[in-house]
């Protein structure tokens, strides 16, 4: 029998459920548990937390996750790999060591992978941004973060040093899964076919529940059992890179050809050229076949030599948004909401707003007038107004003006809610890979 490695996916985003990860660690017979927790903007926000407190800047759920899974991972000899280090992998490793010690776990080797933070490099080299007229100079001090997408090689170095827990900052999502496969099977870093196949496995696993029936259910069309107890996926990977996708027996959800197909193309542009730091993967020939109940075989991905540049995401302070909503219900709800919109339009015209938007929630807020087929008068309508402005003070104007509709606006308005927030926006650029290097920092509990 050929040797297989079982890898579980413990989180598909920063705020994901923790109990399915515990289920995988305790009952999944896995050797690796991967937590993918960094969305596009997460690291810029984490960078801001680190500025306020140098011991912070890692994933807000790091402690909860580690406390929940470390005892099972120690007992079942499971290595953990995660980008929960966010803007501060070294602090995340220190915190994890502290938790291990509190749990009485001794000798746990915890690695922090750094090198993705390239803010100084970006400031000095001033590369041009993709799809934008802004430049490093024009944004100046508004730039808060610049992080390169590191590849599987950075994690591989930590595995080689015997790490049990590996915490990174920005690493390409599929690379978190590809690294242990390269390590276990001794794949060559220029075997593009195997790296392409390992990347498709990582891609299918990285959003956790999205391949086991999450984000899939559509009653009457695509029914999914027991979503409240959705199980997260694991892959049984063979040395040739083919894999069986499955989940813990008895957990909720399902794995079918349909769930795997949807996830295969999720966030993919050209399926024949999916760029990662490790490989240009080609998913166009992927085969998805039944291999038993809740078991799907994945094979047929390939790849071409990796790109010579690494993608870098740059976060900057863009603007502020003020937002508020008010409801109208019963006869004439839409007419009264429309009158409220007219009142707000006139009053807000006296202020220097960069952008203003109104929505009728329940009528056309999601797809706009052209695609929203309102066939009858809605029973209730929620008017929403959002504006982009230069300062937090200006943003608070929106909540004030909407709240004033209680006593100054159309009849029967109720349920005002409001918020203001700073907008950290993202741009991307490419930097030659030889200018970026990673480092491993090791702690032992």
């Amino acid at each position: 029998m050929t040797r297989t490695v079982r890898i579980g996916s413990g989180a598909g985003y920063s705020g994901d459920r923790i109990d399915p990860a515990v289920e995988l660690a305790s009952k999944g017979s896995i050797s690796y548990l991967i937590f993918e927790c960094l969305a596009e903007r997460t690291i810029a926000l984490a960078q801001q937390r680190k500025r306020h407190d140098p011991s912070n800047g890692y994933d807000p759920l790091l402690s909860d996750r580690m406390e929940a899974v470390l005892p099972f991972c120690r007992k079942n000899n499971i290595k953990i790999i995660s980008n929960m280090g966010a803007a501060n992998p070294i602090a995340a490793a220190a915190r994890t060591k502290q938790i291990a010690q509190q749990l009485g776990i001794q000798g746990l080797r915890i690695a922090a992978v750094t090198g993705d933070d390239v803010l100084d490099l970006v400031r000095n080299a001033s590369p041009s941004f993709e799809d934008s007229t802004d430049s490093v100079e024009s944004l100046g001090e508004r730039i808060v973060s610049a992080n390169a997408y590191l590849g599987a090689d950075s994690i591989l170095d930590a595995l080689t040093q015997g790490a049990d827990v590996i915490l990174t900052g920005r690493v390409a999502d599929p690379s978190l899964f590809l690294a242990p496969l390269i390590y276990e099977f001794g794949w060559s870093l220029d075997n593009w076919q195997l790296l392409g196949q390992g990347t498709v496995i990582g891609h299918l696993l990285e959003c956790a529940g999205q391949v086991t029936g999450g984000y899939f259910a559509d009653p009457g069309y695509k029914d999914v059992p027991n979503l409240a107890r959705l199980g997260f996926p694991l892959a049984e990977v063979s040395e040739d890179g083919s894999a069986i996708l499955t989940k813990v027996e008895g957990s909720g959800g399902l794995i079918t050809r349909a769930t795997c197909k949807e996830q295969l193309l999720y966030e993919i542009q050209n399926p024949a050229a999916y760029l990662t730091p490790d490989v240009i993967a080609d998913f166009s020939g992927v085969e998805i076949n039944d291999a038993g109940y809740d078991r799907i075989r994945i094979s047929g991905a390939t790849g071409r030599p990796r790109p010579s540049t690494l993608k870098v995401s740059v976060g900057y302070q863009d603007s502020y948004i003020g937002e508020a909503q008010i409801s109208y219900a019963g006869p004439g709800a839409l007419a009264r909401a429309t009158l409220a919109k007219e009142i707000l339009t006139e009053r807000l015209s006296h202020y220097p707003l960069q952008e203003l938007r109104f929505d009728f929630i329940g009528v056309s807020s999601i797809h706009g007038d052209a695609l929203s087929h309102a066939s009858c008068e809605p029973y209730e309508v929620r008017l929403r107004v959002a504006a982009r402005v230069e300062s937090l003070k200006q943003a608070s104007l929106i909540p004030q003006e909407v709240e004033a509709l209680y006593t100054n606006g159309p009849a029967g308005g109720g349920g005002v809610s409001a918020s203001t927030k700073e907008v950290i926006a993202m741009l991307s650029t490419l930097i030659p890979r030889e200018q970026i290097s990673h480092k491993i920092h090791l702690e032992v509990s």
Binding site: E40, R41, D131, Y215, F216, D218, Y221, K222, A258, K261, E262, Q263, L264, L265, Y266, E267, I268, Q269, N270, P271, A272, S284, G285, V286, E287, I288, D318, S319, I321, E323, E355, L356, R357, D359, I361, S365, I366, H367, G368, A370, L371, H373, R384, A386, A387, R388, V423, I424, A425, M426, S428
Partner: protein, 105 residues
């Protein structure tokens, strides 16, 4: 005949780009899908929600079409004033497309 009855869909996002994939429930419907749901028709369908023609990728092995939509610059996930900043709901808008009518040539 609505697309809703022939395909299932998933929407993904990256910045201002939204990807919508369509999968035939039955492999034998794929040819019809490929013929009816062209890049031009999808571009027209989304009107001013997008700011350039959509790209279409055809994946016969899994009976799927993949569309890449570019939203206007102000509509990227990190800046948008919209309620659905990601554009995650867009796939289900496409399921309302009627594919039974004979297209005027």
């Amino acid at each position: 005949m609505l697309l809703r009855d022939k395909v299932h869909t998933r929407t993904g996002d990256k910045g201002r780009i939204v990807t919508i994939s369509l999968f035939a429930y039955r492999d034998e419907d794929f040819a019809l899908l490929e013929e009816k749901v062209t890049a031009e028709k999808v571009t027209t369908y989304f009107g001013d929600l997008i700011d350039r023609p959509v790209d279409r990728y055809v994946l016969p092995r899994i009976s799927a079409l993949n569309f890449v939509l570019h939203r206007p610059a102000s509509q990227g996930v990190t800046r948008s004033l919209a309620l659905d900043t990601h554009g995650k709901c867009l796939g289900y808008a496409l399921l309302n497309m009627d594919i039974s009518s004979h297209d005027p040539v």
